[in-house]
Amino acid sequence: MGYITIKDLNFSYNRKQNVLNNINVEINKGDWVAVLGHNGSGKSTLAKALVGLIEPQSGTITIDGLELTEESAYDIRKKIGIVFQNPDNQFVGVTVRDDIAFGMENLQVAREEMIERILFYADKVQMKNFLDKEPSQLSGGQKQRVAIAGILAMKTDIIIFDEATSMLDPSAREELMSYIKSLHDEGLTIIMITHDINEALLADKLLILKEGEVFAQDDSRKLMRHKHLFVESHLELPVALDVANELKDKKYDLIKETLWAYVSMK
């Protein structure tokens, strides 16, 4: 039994066509899992189901031994947080300080404790000097960092990033990825929903969703050796891997190795 276990999960919005179809996934504590899929593959729906924002028609989600139900959702959300795609639509507070506090206020954390945690986690995402700033004065990347601080302050140990980088420009995207990497290094469990394979490459485990079904799941480097998996799920491998996969002859071994090393270097 994994830290997070999804068993036979089915979900549909209109009961006609399943958005999620018979999903079975196990995630261990401290894992970094990338969920990859084309637009409309059901990956964001899976994220919502994990935090109990939607109720599946059948199947179970168990997190740290606790099964997710309407009653347990409150306790589950103490363990798992989610950063959404649109930086603007998840900033609840009037200032950075208020926004980081929001989740803690809901958990009824004592005020002194809150003040301490705000300073600590704002510092962690390098937003300590922005505590009194309003969202309209922040960039998209900064808002996403505030969202991370708000979740960390709730002492969660699983964070889902639901295409959290997709509305950012390349430099902010890289920056956010480096924050995610450091969170993983500290032992947090990361579930990263994305359609960017370059981002997915950084994860240890890869889950490919296609039309609501788990199309493949395994160690990410293993999966990436099979180009056909990506072609069939309407995804594209980065140039380096695409080339590496095509170099089958023994004489290219050195180049192949270099290309793989290049990919994991980032």
Partner: protein, 326 residues
């Protein structure tokens, strides 16, 4: 649209910044009522002086308060003129004939041109406007040249009571506005809503959830700049499809307004859905008790403000019911 700040709040460190918002709201309310109780010009002048002293104590820049007056300037002028023209009590102060004649009109037009030319120097815009009006009246009243063609002429009378009342009314408005400006200038919108929430808490007994109310207000405040920014973008997106709001016929305009409103509503709906998800994922459950990062605490300043308010209000009330017997 970067850096738009809602309300008039200006960060600062003066006395009133550290007064509890609840105290400020209640105090301003009672001071306003007190001001309305005053019924004599000398009392109002006294109250105005007191208000200015408040500004000095709070180290609030006089200019900022004056800027707050800008939007209601027209109202002030209107009240002033209205009072002067309609009140016909007391001794006659001014009695003159206004002659609308050819030459006078020519002079006024000349004056108008001078005014518009000078208006390019935006700094004195308002002073110039006053100068133009006063100058015109002066011309109408005093310039008579033989051989001029007179269109019409009428009596222009100003009475003592008229002047007194107009000053009285304008000063009273000035006090009210200065007071409310002190409140909004020194209180963060969030503190204002929290103060309001706290004051409305007794209403919980009749089923009014002041906690949720405060959250709704603060989220609205937070999203006003975002939605404003978005409206602007939608307007540009439709303008690039030929929906130019300055060119075009009325019938087209109706359609163009719809082309603005529908995307705005739909985006607002999508936004609120996503926001609800974000709030839910951070364990927000409506009606469930929450702790608060911001708490309101009373200090000696609140006692001072309350004492001042009570004193002012009592004096105003006593003056009104004429206990002192004059």
């Amino acid at each position: 649209m970067k850096g738009i700040v809602i309300g008039q709040y200006v960060p600062g460190k003066g006395f009133f910044y550290r007064v509890d918002p609840r105290t400020k709201i209640v105090a301003v309310l009672f001071l306003m009522i007190g001001t309305f109780l005053l019924n004599d010009i000398y009392q109002v002048i006294g109250a105005l002086l007191l208000t200015f002293i408040l500004l000095v104590i709070g180290k609030i820049s006089f200019i900022k308060v004056m800027k707050g007056l800008k939007p209601i300037l027209i109202l002030l002028i209107f009240t002033f003129v209205f009072q002067i023209l309609l009140n016909k009590e007391g001794a006659l102060v001014l009695d003159s004939n206004l002659n609308i004649s050819l030459i006078n009109i020519a002079f006024v037009i000349g004056l108008f041109i001078v005014w518009r030319l000078l208006a390019k120097f935006k700094k004195f815009n308002f002073l110039l406007f006053i100068a133009f009006i006063v100058g015109s009246i002066f011309l109408f009243a005093n310039v008579t040249i033989s051989g001029d063609y007179l269109f019409t002429s009428f009596n222009f009378r100003i009475y003592e009571k008229g002047i007194e009342m107009s000053i009285f009314v304008v000063l009273r408005l000035l006090i009210i506005i200065t007071l409310s400006t002190i409140l909004t200038l020194t209180t963060k919108p969030t503190d204002l809503t929290q103060g309001l929430e706290s004051l409305l808490r007794p209403l919980k007994k009749i089923g009014f959830n002041s906690d949720d109310f405060a959250l709704i207000i603060s989220i609205s405040l937070r999203y006003i700049p975002t939605i404003f920014d978005e409206a602007n973008k939608i307007m540009q997106a439709q303008a690039s499809r030929g929906a130019d709001f300055s060119e075009g016929k009325l019938k087209d305009k109706l359609k163009q307004v719809i082309s603005l409103l529908i995307p705005m509503f739909i985006i607002a709906f999508m936004r609120s859905e996503e926001l609800a998800d974000a709030m839910g994922s951070r364990n927000f459950i409506p009606g469930k008790p929450r702790t608060r990062l911001h708490i309101l605490e009373y200090s000696y300043r609140d006692v001072l403000v309350s004492m001042f308010t009570v004193a002012f209000f009592t004096i105003a009330l006593l003056l009104r019911i004429n206990v002192l017997g004059y």
